[in-house]
């Protein structure tokens, strides 16, 4: 049962909290960049201009060039595509796997619940970047690895969320009624229980999205993620490190700025969604 929101409620919230709108706009902007990268970027991200190596921003190269003469602006735009893709995929995987595990755990209970929750505890006992590093090391560098590492670390979050929602809804009348009528467990899960968990999960997913971008960039920055010289924000900062001492600030400043913006956007959006959709949270 979806909580139907009145249009006026949403408008009211946005009026009170312009930050949410800002967040939405930023995310939308990044999505646009990602989708339309081939048309927005003036150069191919891997095109090397050996005569214009490590040049500061100019009219020809709006954000300057890196040590291979690659246009940073084009790379930043194409990186939006890769990073958003990685984050979205990681969130999707995390969400699906985590929710399923949490649902099973919560609904079935018993020893399965115990084991799964212990396992979640253990996963959460690792500081997330360290676990991601370990996974990245085990699987070898690459886009696939980054996705797996970023999603694995966040599965416990979704699992617990789903589980606690389920536990509280399990005893509600409509569920008992559905069971009495003879609905099979999976139908109860999907038809009745999941939609109720959707709200917190959605909020979590939005926040997780920003988080995933940070983790992916961190892994690539350390050299454990996406391979050079692909256009990925973390990789660009890693490559920019080599130019740090000569004061070529543009090689790492712009990609980092975009990371920060995207994460900011998703955080603002997530906070706003949480305010809108969760009535218990104190409104202003």
């Amino acid at each position: 049962m979806f909580k139907r929101l009145a249009r006026s409620e949403i408008v009211y919230h946005i009026r009170q909290n312009p930050a949410t709108l800002l967040g939405l706009s930023i995310v939308a902007l990044m999505v646009v960049l990602a989708i339309f990268a081939p048309w927005i970027a003036p150069y191919d991200p891997l095109e090397k201009h050996y005569d214009h190596v490590s040049e500061p921003p100019s009219s020809q190269f709006w954000m300057g060039t890196d040590q291979f003469g690659q246009d940073i602006f084009s790379r930043v735009v194409w990186a939006a595509r890769l990073d958003l893709f990685i984050a979205a995929t990681a969130v999707m995987i995390s969400l699906v796997v985590g929710s399923l595990l949490g649902a099973l755990s919560g609904y079935l209970g018993g020893w399965l619940d115990e084991i799964l929750m212990r396992f979640m505890d253990i996963l959460q006992a690792f500081p997330s970047l360290i676990l991601a590093m370990g996974i990245a090391y085990a699987l070898g560098p690459g886009v696939f690895t980054v996705i797996i590492a970023t999603s694995a670390v966040n599965i416990p979050g979704y699992a617990r969320l789903m589980r606690s929602t389920l536990l509280s809804e399990k005893q509600r009348t409509y569920v008992l009624a559905a069971r009495a009528v003879g609905n099979p467990p999976w139908r109860i899960l999907f038809r009745h229980l999941f939609p109720n968990a959707l709200t917190p999960v959605l909020v979590n997913a939005t926040l997780h999205f920003g988080w995933a971008i940070l983790e992916a960039a961190s892994l690539s920055f350390l050299g454990l993620g996406v391979a050079i010289p692909n256009a990925e924000w973390g990789v660009m900062i890693n490559m920019g490190l080599q130019d740090f001492w000569q004061g070529h600030w543009w090689t790492y400043t712009f990609p980092g700025l975009f990371i920060a913006l995207t994460v900011l956007g998703s955080n603002l959006l997530g906070d706003g969604l949480s305010d809108i959709l969760d009535p218990r949270r104190s409104h202003r």
């Binding site: 291979f68 050299g223 391979a227 050079i228 010289p229 080599q242 000569q246």
Partner: protein, 531 residues
């Protein structure tokens, strides 16, 4: 205000002593991973410590050379071997397979143990019975297979009976790995389960005869060497060497600039031009026989195809690499045997940058425009900035003729294991032959039986040449055969040579006496630092 004359005297003495202590501060890339000279292959700082603490019987002679740009520099000539711990050496008049070493008298280990023929033989036994890398080195060519081929003739006289008399074995003996450890250490540290004290020597610095001792080692921070006051050639001018561990190459450059360290090598090439402009620093850039090679595994798809390898050889922009990656501090390589190694044939290797020809060859190889190629991974080691840049340029150049490769950066150990197992398909590494001898070089790189023939190059005619002439003392025939081998190797293009980088050392102008050795390790004994 009266100052006590005693205090004055003490402070003068102290001050005098303090200034008399000459310290050299060097920035190095890492710490020590083993203290055992017989086993140190990995890190340069480890090897640097070994080479200053332990000594071999003979060494190459120090000579003066002039670089292409006219500057004079000091280096060594591997063709002229002089005595180090051996006062002199010579082939036995009566038996051309035997060499006699007359050891220096009066030399003692840092612990006080007397150095004599027994010590050398004990050291050799250790090497042969513990099966270390040195066993391979000393025994190259099957000439020396047992420690008892080293025979004691007198307290200070030693004979080496080779299966076949040759100069290569002697050249191999100049490498520090064959140094004899202190017999007293062995006696004290050997255990029933570890008769050669391999474990102890790995974790502890033993006594050597060299000009320096290890004073302290703080892992992750610094290695400190102090001068041996009773060194038989006189006390070294530099009293103390502080090797500060700075893993990041850019920071080593920074420390040089701020004057915090006096010396560093392995500085990123792109910093050299800027460092040259700093008034207190000087940059020494030595041409070497080091080569960065693009290795193609000849035994697996797709590089078992000779035409494909030829296509790659024509696709690489060699001048661009020297310009962009090495900023001129390198040369375009000459071929399988680099310029600077005897018998190097500058005409053997015909491949130049010619993308049109590369495309044609690619089609002839059966992959027109790159169609039909399996996925190719170009593997490089993490941490080498220049090789990383080369990889990116190679990737770019190959994509222009239709070959798509992905770059894979591997950790050191993973790379090594895959490389040694012959599993790497396409990778970049570098090689410099510590013994500047063409047959040494060809054996390790091109002989089908060599464990370091990473591209699995197999050509029986080349094997035959190496086997026949490796130990030969007929210089003329040896040289001619080498040139023939180079042509044969070039025909098959087992690997592509990307650049021959110089060896760069950045020093404070007050530091003098640096000598370039073939193993690129610093011998602090010859150096001095003006106050």
């Amino acid at each position: 205000m009266r100052v006590s004359w005693k205090a004055f005297l003490v402070s003068v003495l102290f001050f005098g002593f303090a200034t008399a202590q000459k310290t050299l501060v060097v920035a190095v890339e890492g710490g020590i991973d083993t203290f055992d000279p017989a086993f140190s292959v990995g890190s340069t700082p480890t090897q640097t410590v070994s080479v200053n603490v332990f000594e071999t019987l003979i060494r190459p002679k120090i000579v003066e050379r002039t670089a292409r740009d006219g500057t004079a520099y000091k280096t060594v000539d591997m063709e002229q071997l002089v005595g180090q711990l051996a006062g002199d050496w010579a082939f036995d008049q009566k038996d051309p397979n035997t060499v006699i070493f007359n050891l220096r008298k009066g030399v003692r280990y840092h612990s006080g143990t007397i150095f004599n023929a027994d010590a050398v033989i004990l050291g050799m036994r250790r090497i042969f019975e513990s099966q270390s890398i040195t066993t391979f080195l000393v025994g190259m060519g099957g000439v020396v297979t047992r420690a008892d081929q080293f025979r004691r003739l007198a307290d200070y006289t030693l004979a080496l009976e080779m299966k076949q008399g040759n100069l290569l074995t002697l050249k191999n003996l100049t490498i520090y790995n064959s140094a004899a450890v202190d017999p007293a250490d062995l006696r004290a540290q050997a255990t029933p389960s570890d008769p050669w004290a391999l474990d102890w020597f790995k974790k502890n610095m033993g006594s050597g005869t060299g000009p320096y001792l290890l004073s302290s080692y703080v892992p992750g921070d610094r290695i400190v060497l102090k001068a041996h006051p009773n060194y038989y050639l006189g006390k070294p001018k530099i009293d103390q060497v502080v090797m500060k561990i700075v893993p990041d190459p850019a920071q080593r450059a920074l420390l040089l600039r701020t004057g915090a360290v006096d010396m560093a090598n392995q500085v990123p090439v792109r910093e050299l031009d800027a460092l040259k402009k700093v008034p207190s620093l000087k940059v020494l850039s030595f041409p070497t026989t080091n080569q960065d090679r693009l290795m193609m595994n000849n035994s697996i798809l797709p590089f078992n195809n000779k035409l494909l390898r030829k296509a790659v050889a024509y696709a690489i922009p060699y001048d661009l690499i020297v310009r962009q990656v090495y900023r001129g501090y390198a040369r375009v390589p000459v071929g399988p045997i680099e310029d600077g190694m005897p018998t190097s044939d500058l005409t053997a290797w015909p491949y130049r940058y010619d993308p049109g020809r590369a495309r044609t060859l690619l089609a002839e190889a059966g992959y027109p425009g790159g169609k039909g190629l399996p996925p190719i991974k170009l593997s490089i080691r993490i941490g080498n900035e220049e090789q990383e840049r080369e990889a990116v340029i190679v990737q770019d150049a190959l994509s222009k003729i239709g070959i798509k490769v992905t770059i894979e950066k591997l950790p050191f150990a993973t790379f090594n294991e895959l490389q040694q197992g012959g599993k790497l398909q396409f990778f970049i590494d570098d090689w410099i032959s510590w013994v500047n001898d063409p047959y040494y070089h060809m054996f390790w790189n091109f002989h089908s039986k060599s464990p370091t023939n990473y591209v699995r190059f197999r050509r029986p005619e080349v094997d035959k040449i190496i086997d026949t002439y490796m130990l030969s003392r007929d210089a003329k025939a040896r040289a001619e055969a080498s040139r023939r081998a180079q042509k044969l190797i070039s025909e098959d293009v087992p690997q592509v040579y990307l650049a021959s980088p110089n060896f760069n050392v950045v020093l404070n102008k007050k530091v003098t006496g640096y000598i370039y050795f073939n193993d690129q390790l610093t011998r602090f004994f010859y150096m001095d630092r003006e106050p």
